[in-house]
Symmetry: C2
Subunit: 212 residues, 2 copies
DNA sequence: GCCCTCCTCTAACAGCGTTAGGGACGCTAC
DNA sequence: GTAGCGTCCCTAACGCTGTTAGAGGAGGGC
């Protein structure tokens, strides 16, 4: 059976998860597919556009599993959950955030964007505000995921960093935080995401109900 | 006069601004310095650590010019301005966001972090909340800058994209947004950043003054 | 005069994305 | 039956990349 472009993209997604963005070369990808490197150019115009397809695939998987908002459901909780799911999707696929960043929304993604924005407009936001909010949440999620991956790569190569090793007297507030939060671990990153999303949502609520 | 590491980092910052992250090669950097490529390895361990130094330099420049908060000044306005300044610094240096992303705060940056967090704690936030907020704002700024650069790179190669070319009937909310916002231009990106920051700050305000 | 450290060099390796050009398979038309 | 054509894959090669090995010159201390 002849190779299809979907096969190439599938293999690229797998290889990305395995070796990261830096390790993903066309020669390696071709070897994985049992094919010579230039052959890939028959199925894909460019490495860059291959990555576009990969990003599309990653996002498509994420949107396809998204439950639409139910009637009477709280839009805030729904938006929070969607953003968190997107963050988790970007975090579980290695380097996905870097690949996805800057991709134009493909036509496939438009209905999802439309639905999300319609929900916000239905909740009382002006269209312009809904759009800016959606972009803001997106930027925040991407930024969080990029930082997560970058810190992860850093941690892998520097083994152990003496985290609390600074002078507490010089930085009392930092010391208080370190004492209050305990050692850094994986859950910490999601705490930040949750906190940021809550801040944005609270800010939205304040706009929707000026004086409750 | 012999080359110093600072010279190399300086030249790398300039070259980054000129040719972008993809165009920044050690050979090109060496040529710019009038030196052969392997010579750089005397001053710098690695390309990766060179980029670390570049990121440090970019952030240092940005924090050094930061005015501390004045007495009686509104913390919200101050935080907003600091975040916007950081965004602008990342945006004006080409690809700076990608280089900076994931850098641990160097020891030089600690006083600034301490000061910012002390301000938030002074305004009434718990240390943990102040820390999470600072991280959230940072992630949002980085994400916005990454998206800015990525979209910029995309726009450069696809010349003109028929932006409003989709079917308005299929996506009424999107069409309303397109009509309300006009054509995309450079200011749009900062609108998103401003909006996101306002949301977060409004959310913070809601926490600080539960029932004003 | 000798050594030692700094700083720079040339030569080279393996790998990268990408292009040029060709060859084998199967379908369709005459 | 065979000529033509589109599909899919190949080898060879170009110019680039980060990086290493090893040699050598300039300048200071003894």
């Amino acid at each position: 059976m002849a190779l299809t472009r979907d096969d190439v993209v599938d293999a690229a997604v797998d290889l990305l998860a395995e070796v990261g963005l830096e390790g993903l070369s066309l020669r390696r990808l071709a070897r994985e597919l049992g094919v010579s490197a230039p052959t890939l150019y028959w199925h894909v115009a460019d490495k860059r556009t291959l990555l576009d397809h990969v990003a599309e695939r990653l996002l498509a998987d994420q949107w396809r599993s998204a439950p639409p908002i139910g009637p009477g459901e709280d839009w805030a909780a729904w938006l929070r959950e969607r953003a968190l799911a997107q963050y988790r999707a970007l975090v579980t696929h290695r380097d996905a955030a870097l690949v996805v960043a800057g991709n134009r929304p493909t036509d496939d993604a438009l209905p999802a964007v439309e639905a999300t924005m319609a929900t916000l407009v239905g909740a009382g936001l002006a269209p312009r505000e809904a759009f800016l909010t959606l972009m803001s949440v997106g930027h925040f999620v991407i930024g969080s995921a990029v930082e997560y991956h970058a810190e992860r790569a850093r941690a892998a190569e520097t083994a152990a960093v003496p985290h609390g090793g600074h002078d507490p007297a010089a930085h009392p507030t930092l010391a208080a935080v370190a004492a209050a939060m305990g050692p850094p671990d994986g859950a910490r990153h999601e705490d930040v995401v949750r906190h940021g999303l809550d801040l944005m949502i609270d800010g939205l609520r304040a706009r929707l109900d000026p004086a409750p």
